[in-house]
């Protein structure tokens, strides 16, 4: 697996900045630290501040004198704190003064450490180097954590896609068994999603719910896996006994979905069970398996049942040829395939022009 996709690896800052008006002091500190870092110098607070704000990510530490012309150390520190930079770059105050008030103010302003002048090399290197190491370790760790988080997110996305792919594959396999084109489930998905996104029937649903319902619509016929081939693929009319068996694909579908524990944790599960069981219910109570009536049928089950009828009429099936579009619409309006909610029909006819486009490319 790739380690650095989409993520800039963390580069530790290498430059130490010395801000001091005294050239001797700069020379001493430069001499001490040039063995460890790339050293830059600034002869007063203003110049130092400009350098830091221009590229804070370049600096691993700042050594700051207190008494300087133009802008003194404390004022520089105040600016750095105001910009939130004292948390990014450790600042050390290098001072000949040990007044309590000065130290207190410096620490309040977020200084990392106060080191007294004249400096003692082994003390100043030890104190500065350990803080720089600490900052580097902390940043590299947080960059690793972020990298891992991004990787986990990518994995989660892949799992969701895989889930969706498996659901589509399963549903398509079932459609294939009944010798229908696998495009049927794809079109039911698209019609359902289109109705939710472009008519009042999607009002009040979050984007996530819309996607879950569309995904659930793919599984409306999974129960057909429990129907014998002889009935499922019978070219002629079904006998009443055969039709009773055929009807059980709704209850069997809901039962099958309920047996997949992983699916139960998916947000689409509730919709999938409802749609599988109720996509043959009709507005007047004339459907099956429960004979639900009117608003007892959930909106998504109503949408999928209409989409299912629309798609079945528009395409050739083992028991029939495709009907011309005008006749399809007339049959739906006339209740040839059962009675639908008049409000659902209004919404459907308002977008049918666009839905018809799904069939033209074939």
């Amino acid at each position: 697996m790739e380690q650095t996709i989409g993520n800039v690896p963390y580069v530790a800052p290498q430059t130490l900045l010395i801000v001091d008006d005294d050239a001797i002091n700069r020379g001493i500190l430069d001499n001490i630290f040039s063995a460890y870092y790339k050293v830059e110098e600034a002869e007063d607070g203003r110049v130092g501040l400009e350098k830091i704000t221009a590229a804070p990510e370049n600096y691993c530490a700042v050594l700051l004198d207190v008494m300087m012309p133009e802008m003194d150390g404390l004022e520089t520190l105040q600016h750095l704190k105001g910009l939130g930079l004292v948390d990014e770059v450790p600042v050390f105050l290098i001072t000949a003064e040990s007044r309590d008030a000065l130290m207190r103010e410096a620490y309040n302003l977020g200084v990392m450490d106060v080191i007294s002048k004249p400096v003692v090399p082994y003390i100043v290197t030890r104190r500065v180097n350990s803080v720089v190491e600490l900052f580097r370790a902390r940043k590299s760790l947080s960059s690793q954590v972020m990298k891992q988080q991004a990787e986990l997110l990518r994995q989660a996305e892949r799992i969701i896609l895989l889930n969706q792919g498996m659901i589509e594959a399963l549903s398509t396999a079932i459609e294939f068994r009944s010798e229908e084109s696998g495009d049927h489930v794809r079109r039911i998905h698209d019609i359902t999603q289109y109705m939710l996104e472009h008519t009042v029937w999607g009002e009040g649903l979050t984007r996530e719910s819309t996607e879950q319902i569309a995904l659930a619509s793919i599984m409306h016929d999974v129960g057909k896996i429990a129907i014998p081939d002889a009935i499922l693929n019978k070219p002629g009319r079904l006998t009443p006994k055969e039709f009773e068996i055929m009807k059980t694909h709704t209850t069997e579908g809901a039962r099958l979905l309920g047996r997949i524990p992983q699916l139960r944790e998916n947000g689409a599960y509730y919709y999938a069970c409802d749609i599988a069981r109720h996509h043959h219910e009709r507005w007047d109570g004339g459907g099956y398996p429960d004979g639900l009536k009117g608003d007892e049928i959930s909106p998504w089950a109503q949408i999928v049942s209409l989409a299912d009828v629309y798609d079945a009429l528009s395409c050739k099936r083992v028991y029939k040829d495709a009907f011309p579009r005008a006749q399809v619409l007339e049959m739906i309006r006339g209740g040839a395939c059962g009675v639908f909610n008049p409000k659902l029909l209004d919404a459907f006819f308002s977008v049918e022009e666009s839905l018809a486009g799904l069939y033209q490319s074939e």
């Binding site: 005294d22 050239a23 001797i24 001493i28 000949a96």
Partner: protein, 119 residues
């Protein structure tokens, strides 16, 4: 750095050993910085400020000199500037200015020695 140079500097009041420790043994850098000290304007500015009785400017110059002499391990001169800074901060500029003859003596001895080794 030749031994006689170190002796000269030590005699004039520079703790050469301590200074070299601070300079991580870099003798060339120490010599360069000693030369820079003699050319530094802060001493003249201190004298001028005392003349004009400008206590604020005197404090700034004395403070800078205190830092420099500390870094260069000019032990005696550094403690003189340290006391002068304290007096100025304590609001006793007259006491601070009264130290100038003593400071001048120590300063000129050191500058003389640095001049001698630099020749």
């Amino acid at each position: 750095m030749e031994a006689w140079k170190k002796e000269q500097l030590t005699a004039a009041g520079v703790d050469v050993h301590g200074a070299l420790e601070r300079f991580m043994g870099n003798e060339a850098l120490l010599e360069r910085m000693l030369q820079r000290f003699t050319g530094d304007a802060n001493y003249a500015q201190l004298l001028a400020a005392a003349d004009k009785r400008d206590a604020e400017e005197a404090l700034r110059a004395a403070h800078t000199l205190k830092g420099m002499t500390g870094n260069l391990s000019m032990t005696a001169l550094c403690s003189l500037f340290t006391r002068q800074v304290e007096l100025l901060r304590a609001g006793d500029p007259d006491g601070a200015y009264a130290m100038l003859p003593e400071i001048t003596l120590a300063y000129e001895r050191i500058v003389g020695a640095i001049g001698a080794i630099g020749r």
